[in-house]
Symmetry: C2
Subunit: 109 residues, 2 copies
Protein backbone atom coordinates (compact mmCIF):
# COMPACT_ATOMS: atom_id res chain seq x y z
CA UNK A 1 0.00 0.00 0.00
CA UNK A 2 2.83 2.40 0.85
CA UNK A 3 5.80 1.12 -1.11
CA UNK A 4 4.16 -0.98 -3.85
CA UNK A 5 4.30 -4.74 -4.43
CA UNK A 6 6.83 -6.64 -2.32
CA UNK A 7 7.18 -9.93 -4.14
CA UNK A 8 10.65 -10.46 -2.72
CA UNK A 9 9.46 -10.14 0.88
CA UNK A 10 7.70 -12.71 3.05
CA UNK A 11 6.11 -12.39 6.49
CA UNK A 12 6.64 -15.35 8.79
CA UNK A 13 4.48 -14.82 11.87
CA UNK A 14 5.02 -16.70 15.11
CA UNK A 15 1.79 -18.55 15.80
CA UNK A 16 0.65 -19.38 19.34
CA UNK A 17 0.85 -23.05 18.37
CA UNK A 18 4.45 -22.76 17.10
CA UNK A 19 7.38 -24.35 18.87
CA UNK A 20 10.82 -22.96 18.13
CA UNK A 21 11.34 -26.00 15.91
CA UNK A 22 8.17 -25.55 13.83
CA UNK A 23 8.88 -21.84 13.52
CA UNK A 24 12.44 -22.56 12.41
CA UNK A 25 11.17 -24.93 9.72
CA UNK A 26 8.73 -22.35 8.39
CA UNK A 27 11.30 -19.56 8.46
CA UNK A 28 13.99 -21.61 6.73
CA UNK A 29 11.49 -22.68 4.06
CA UNK A 30 11.25 -19.05 2.94
CA UNK A 31 15.02 -18.64 2.50
CA UNK A 32 16.51 -19.47 -0.89
CA UNK A 33 19.86 -21.17 -0.16
CA UNK A 34 22.79 -18.92 -1.00
CA UNK A 35 20.63 -15.87 -1.66
CA UNK A 36 21.40 -12.84 0.54
CA UNK A 37 18.42 -12.40 2.84
CA UNK A 38 17.52 -9.76 5.41
CA UNK A 39 15.37 -10.82 8.35
CA UNK A 40 13.57 -8.16 10.38
CA UNK A 41 12.25 -9.19 13.79
CA UNK A 42 10.11 -7.45 16.38
CA UNK A 43 12.07 -8.01 19.57
CA UNK A 44 15.66 -8.69 20.50
CA UNK A 45 15.67 -11.96 22.43
CA UNK A 46 12.36 -13.28 21.14
CA UNK A 47 11.87 -16.63 19.45
CA UNK A 48 11.91 -15.27 15.87
CA UNK A 49 15.15 -13.46 16.68
CA UNK A 50 16.80 -16.52 18.17
CA UNK A 51 15.72 -18.72 15.28
CA UNK A 52 16.95 -16.12 12.79
CA UNK A 53 20.36 -16.02 14.45
CA UNK A 54 20.66 -19.74 13.86
CA UNK A 55 19.87 -19.14 10.19
CA UNK A 56 22.69 -16.62 9.89
CA UNK A 57 25.20 -19.36 10.64
CA UNK A 58 24.48 -21.40 7.52
CA UNK A 59 23.23 -18.80 5.04
CA UNK A 60 24.11 -15.25 3.89
CA UNK A 61 21.44 -13.89 6.21
CA UNK A 62 21.54 -10.57 8.06
CA UNK A 63 19.12 -9.75 10.83
CA UNK A 64 17.85 -6.55 12.43
CA UNK A 65 15.67 -6.60 15.55
CA UNK A 66 13.25 -3.92 16.72
CA UNK A 67 11.62 -3.42 13.34
CA UNK A 68 9.20 -0.55 12.87
CA UNK A 69 7.28 0.43 9.75
CA UNK A 70 9.98 2.89 8.70
CA UNK A 71 12.55 0.10 8.73
CA UNK A 72 10.32 -2.18 6.68
CA UNK A 73 9.78 0.51 4.05
CA UNK A 74 13.49 1.42 3.92
CA UNK A 75 14.41 -2.24 3.53
CA UNK A 76 11.81 -2.89 0.83
CA UNK A 77 12.97 0.08 -1.22
CA UNK A 78 16.72 -0.40 -0.76
CA UNK A 79 18.64 -1.22 -3.94
CA UNK A 80 22.12 -1.72 -2.48
CA UNK A 81 23.71 -5.12 -1.93
CA UNK A 82 23.03 -6.66 1.48
CA UNK A 83 26.12 -5.94 3.58
CA UNK A 84 27.46 -3.95 6.51
CA UNK A 85 26.86 -0.57 4.83
CA UNK A 86 23.20 -1.26 4.06
CA UNK A 87 22.49 -2.77 7.47
CA UNK A 88 24.10 0.20 9.21
CA UNK A 89 22.09 2.62 7.09
CA UNK A 90 18.84 0.79 7.80
CA UNK A 91 19.49 0.67 11.56
CA UNK A 92 20.31 4.40 11.61
CA UNK A 93 17.21 5.30 9.57
CA UNK A 94 14.95 3.20 11.78
CA UNK A 95 16.35 4.77 14.94
CA UNK A 96 15.95 8.28 13.53
CA UNK A 97 12.31 7.54 12.69
CA UNK A 98 11.56 7.22 16.42
CA UNK A 99 10.78 10.79 17.33
CA UNK A 100 9.39 12.67 20.34
CA UNK A 101 7.01 14.88 18.42
CA UNK A 102 6.98 17.62 21.07
CA UNK A 103 10.76 17.92 20.86
CA UNK A 104 10.68 17.91 17.06
CA UNK A 105 8.01 20.61 16.97
CA UNK A 106 10.01 22.73 19.44
CA UNK A 107 13.08 22.74 17.21
CA UNK A 108 10.99 24.08 14.32
CA UNK A 109 10.03 27.31 16.05
CA UNK B 1 0.21 -11.81 25.47
CA UNK B 2 3.63 -10.40 26.35
CA UNK B 3 2.90 -7.74 28.95
CA UNK B 4 -0.52 -8.76 30.27
CA UNK B 5 -3.87 -6.99 29.95
CA UNK B 6 -3.73 -3.43 28.59
CA UNK B 7 -7.08 -1.99 29.59
CA UNK B 8 -5.69 1.53 29.51
CA UNK B 9 -4.49 1.22 25.91
CA UNK B 10 -6.49 1.47 22.70
CA UNK B 11 -5.51 0.79 19.10
CA UNK B 12 -6.92 3.20 16.52
CA UNK B 13 -6.10 1.84 13.08
CA UNK B 14 -6.25 3.96 9.95
CA UNK B 15 -8.78 2.29 7.67
CA UNK B 16 -8.56 2.53 3.88
CA UNK B 17 -11.95 4.25 3.96
CA UNK B 18 -10.85 6.85 6.53
CA UNK B 19 -10.41 10.51 5.68
CA UNK B 20 -8.21 12.58 7.99
CA UNK B 21 -11.45 13.95 9.45
CA UNK B 22 -13.05 10.59 10.22
CA UNK B 23 -9.76 9.32 11.64
CA UNK B 24 -9.47 12.42 13.83
CA UNK B 25 -12.97 11.86 15.19
CA UNK B 26 -12.22 8.24 16.05
CA UNK B 27 -8.86 9.10 17.62
CA UNK B 28 -10.23 11.94 19.72
CA UNK B 29 -13.10 9.72 20.90
CA UNK B 30 -10.54 7.49 22.66
CA UNK B 31 -8.95 10.38 24.61
CA UNK B 32 -10.38 11.24 28.00
CA UNK B 33 -10.29 15.07 28.22
CA UNK B 34 -7.62 16.26 30.62
CA UNK B 35 -6.10 12.82 31.11
CA UNK B 36 -2.42 12.53 30.14
CA UNK B 37 -2.28 10.34 27.06
CA UNK B 38 0.58 8.92 25.03
CA UNK B 39 0.00 8.30 21.32
CA UNK B 40 2.36 5.97 19.45
CA UNK B 41 2.30 6.15 15.66
CA UNK B 42 3.94 4.12 12.94
CA UNK B 43 5.44 6.79 10.68
CA UNK B 44 6.57 10.37 11.07
CA UNK B 45 4.54 12.41 8.58
CA UNK B 46 1.70 9.93 8.16
CA UNK B 47 -1.97 10.74 8.68
CA UNK B 48 -2.17 9.27 12.23
CA UNK B 49 0.88 11.33 13.17
CA UNK B 50 -0.52 14.53 11.74
CA UNK B 51 -3.89 14.01 13.40
CA UNK B 52 -2.17 13.20 16.71
CA UNK B 53 -0.19 16.44 16.54
CA UNK B 54 -3.44 18.36 16.31
CA UNK B 55 -4.64 16.53 19.44
CA UNK B 56 -1.55 17.61 21.37
CA UNK B 57 -2.65 21.23 21.02
CA UNK B 58 -5.83 20.88 23.07
CA UNK B 59 -5.05 17.99 25.42
CA UNK B 60 -2.17 16.76 27.61
CA UNK B 61 -1.13 14.38 24.85
CA UNK B 62 2.43 13.32 24.01
CA UNK B 63 3.27 11.54 20.80
CA UNK B 64 6.11 9.29 19.63
CA UNK B 65 6.42 8.21 16.00
CA UNK B 66 8.23 5.16 14.65
CA UNK B 67 6.76 2.74 17.17
CA UNK B 68 8.10 -0.79 17.34
CA UNK B 69 7.03 -3.62 19.63
CA UNK B 70 9.72 -2.76 22.18
CA UNK B 71 8.33 0.76 22.48
CA UNK B 72 4.79 -0.52 22.92
CA UNK B 73 5.86 -2.87 25.71
CA UNK B 74 7.96 -0.20 27.45
CA UNK B 75 5.06 2.24 27.29
CA UNK B 76 2.50 -0.29 28.55
CA UNK B 77 4.67 -1.22 31.52
CA UNK B 78 5.84 2.31 32.44
CA UNK B 79 4.65 3.56 35.81
CA UNK B 80 6.11 7.09 35.72
CA UNK B 81 4.03 10.20 35.04
CA UNK B 82 3.77 11.16 31.37
CA UNK B 83 6.33 13.93 30.84
CA UNK B 84 9.62 14.78 29.19
CA UNK B 85 11.63 12.28 31.25
CA UNK B 86 9.38 9.33 30.40
CA UNK B 87 9.13 10.25 26.72
CA UNK B 88 12.92 10.59 26.48
CA UNK B 89 13.41 7.24 28.19
CA UNK B 90 10.91 5.53 25.86
CA UNK B 91 12.49 7.02 22.73
CA UNK B 92 15.95 5.93 23.86
CA UNK B 93 14.79 2.42 24.73
CA UNK B 94 13.01 2.01 21.41
CA UNK B 95 16.07 3.18 19.48
CA UNK B 96 18.35 0.83 21.39
CA UNK B 97 16.05 -2.08 20.60
CA UNK B 98 16.92 -1.70 16.90
CA UNK B 99 20.00 -3.86 16.61
CA UNK B 100 22.20 -5.22 13.84
CA UNK B 101 22.46 -8.75 15.16
CA UNK B 102 25.77 -9.48 13.43
CA UNK B 103 27.36 -6.46 15.12
CA UNK B 104 25.87 -7.43 18.47
CA UNK B 105 27.12 -10.99 18.18
CA UNK B 106 30.60 -9.76 17.21
CA UNK B 107 30.90 -7.67 20.38
CA UNK B 108 30.14 -10.75 22.47
CA UNK B 109 33.19 -12.69 21.33
Amino acid sequence: MISGPADHATAVGLDPTDSPETYRERLLATITPGRPTLILTDLFGGTPQNVAIAATRSQPVRCISGANLGLVIEALTADEPLGDALVERLVAAARESIVDIAARMATRT
